[in-house]
Symmetry: C2
């Protein structure tokens, strides 16, 4: 049975009242953004061009050392799936979440669309498209563990945003999809686009500003290989706690250092300089030194990753996943094995390793059934 | 008459004692750098391949807004010249400064090579080359005003370093020349390579670290035009005072903002995105807001430059020169005229404007006479 929710009352299905869209929209969630000038009222309500779609959105590594809070990249082969279908049993203009699958932790996730990352993003895209005549049913397959530092909530939001956009004929641009997914991030983990932007756009994305939203895609040369060794320990690193560990004030020398490393990181990405990228990744003097001691074994894991020949290593997002980079998949597996061992020996934590390539595409439609 | 100086006494010519070069060199000036492993002792002393050379080094714009203390670029058509000749009247292994020409302010400059930017850099290059058998005479033509924020001292040092290297057959690499010129900067304005590195290398240069020295050349696409509008008011902005104006601690939001703008600046340079470059140039929330009020009229000058259609504007180096960027020389001249007017109206300062292209070459030999 589909569980639905309502804008006005959590016991009723969610509806986007046309009156709300017509003038000075009363936002469901606070929006800091300058929304695109194209408002839903100027669009004719699009018809669905598919009866059902399935979308995928990749895991993301945010921060990347000195890129704290403004840089992230997407990782292929790990991510979340959202299936969406036109559902005559759902009231027109409404959305319901019919199913959430994944590991045991997904039980923590709400099926109330207003409290679910995928649901919030889907609702925002429906609002942007002005959907009033079609009801949708959404099914979420979590491929990413929750709270791992791999952009789990962003992947759900990105997959849902893309799925809704695709089912109605791909009317919205990347920026609008990021805005929609940001509403979801705002509610669950903070107003940061460094996961949702690369989850939607793929590759490396620099968030230049929020007002207005200004994103720079940093193209890593296609002829170069880039593998991420992602080692996730069995440990909870709550984003709130990890954020509270940060200094509120930063001395000028450390500011200049991290700024220059951020510049070097951007240059290394664009120039396809893997050694430079790894060096920059490892260079953070502000955030990582505060967070690493809160993740048992992290400092040893980084040391081992560097000794084993990775180009660089840091914490992925707010952790607890450690991320190292290399240009060779086999070497990546060896490095990952040593990192897992280090988490166990030095942090007394079980961990699992994945070696994955850069995702250059971002959230995408993977299957569809046409009307 | 050549005025010479000595390492041990200012009344005697400067000599590089061979014993000092042979083992654990006793540096003239403190060196924070990891010097290149290739030490002078491993090189046979080179013979001069020219009897005289003339070198040019361009003006430089350091900081570039959020690139504070680690980013700079070179500007063509403005700079300093160093003429150097093998002089049998100068004791072998010594250097003398025979002449300094330029505007009235050059009278402030010492002809003692140990206290002159060009002299210090020339001595360092002679040390690196192990010169013991040839005496040199140096003449400095200052094309740049002193203390203008256009890298005047760096240009003198860069031209001298290149001149000495060229007269002995160009044995040293760019990094060694930067190290030599840095010794000069350390003495006169602080241990920063954001002027000397672009003065020697040309284009945009990011200083990634000092220990060891690690420089990243950022190639601005050759097919793109980039003009700098440089407006220098008749005002003294001592580097010490401008540095004292800086905050010692920076709040996290401003740190993240400036870091992201630094990344955007680097991306804009590499992608040849002039609008993005200008936007980043104008975006500094840490240094410019403290320094601009100390330069009468600067805030109005920036406003005018932006209103007149420049892509961006900030303070060049520690000031007082204002720098704006555009893609068209004629428009640059109009913008420059308006900026000069604004300095006069709002700051009661006379100013002069130059519109110059990016220098992509750096310090270079411009003439030579062979043995």
């Amino acid at each position: 049975m589909a569980i639905c929710c309502c804008y006005l009352s959590p016991t009723k299905p969610f509806t986007i009242p046309p009156s709300i869209q017509l003038s000075s929209p009363k936002p469901l969630l606070r929006c800091n953004l300058s929304l695109p000038s194209k408002s839903p009222i100027t669009l004719a309500e699009p018809d669905p061009i598919f009866t059902s779609v399935k979308a995928f959105a990749p895991a993301t590594v945010a921060n990347l050392g000195p890129g704290f809070d403004f840089l992230g990249c997407a990782v292929d082969g790990l991510g979340d799936f959202v299936s969406l279908r036109v559902d005559p049993h759902v009231h027109p203009g409404e959305i319901s979440i019919s199913d959430i699958s994944g590991d045991n932790n997904v039980k923590k996730l709400s099926k109330n669309p207003l409290w679910n990352c995928a649901g919030i993003a889907a609702i925002e895209v429906m609002k942007l498209l002005g959907i009033r005549s079609v009801g949708l049913s959404l099914s979420l397959e979590k491929g990413l563990p929750l709270g791992s530092g791999l952009g789990s909530s962003a992947a759900s939001a990105a997959a849902a945003a893309v799925a809704v956009n695709e089912i109605f004929g791909n009317k919205l641009g990347v920026e609008e999809l990021v805005l929609a997914a940001l509403k979801s991030e705002e509610k669950v983990s903070g107003y940061h686009a460094d996961n949702v932007a690369p989850a939607i756009m793929g590759g490396f994305v620099l968030i230049r500003s929020y007002e207005p939203l200004d994103l720079i895609q940093l193209k890593f040369p296609s002829e170069k290989n880039l593998f991420f060794v992602l080692v996730s320990p069995d440990f909870e690193a709550p984003t709130k706690k990890m954020r509270a560990a940060l200094p509120s004030e930063i001395g000028m020398p450390h500011h200049v250092w991290n700024c220059s490393q951020a510049g070097a990181l951007v240059a290394s990405v664009l120039q396809g300089d893997l050694a430079g990228l790894g060096k920059a990744l490892s260079s953070d003097k502000i955030v990582e030194p505060r967070r690493a001691p809160l993740i048992p074994g992290m400092e040893a894991v980084k040391r081992v990753a560097l000794e084993a020949g990775s180009f660089g290593c840091t914490i992925s997002g707010a952790g607890p996943t450690a991320v190292a980079v290399t240009d060779n998949e086999e070497r990546g597996k060896e490095i990952g094995k040593l990192m897992v061992e280090a988490f166990f020996k030095e942090g007394n934590l079980k961990a699992c390793a994945h070696v994955k390539q850069l995702d250059r595409v971002g959230a995408r439609l993977i299957s569809s059934i046409r009307n």
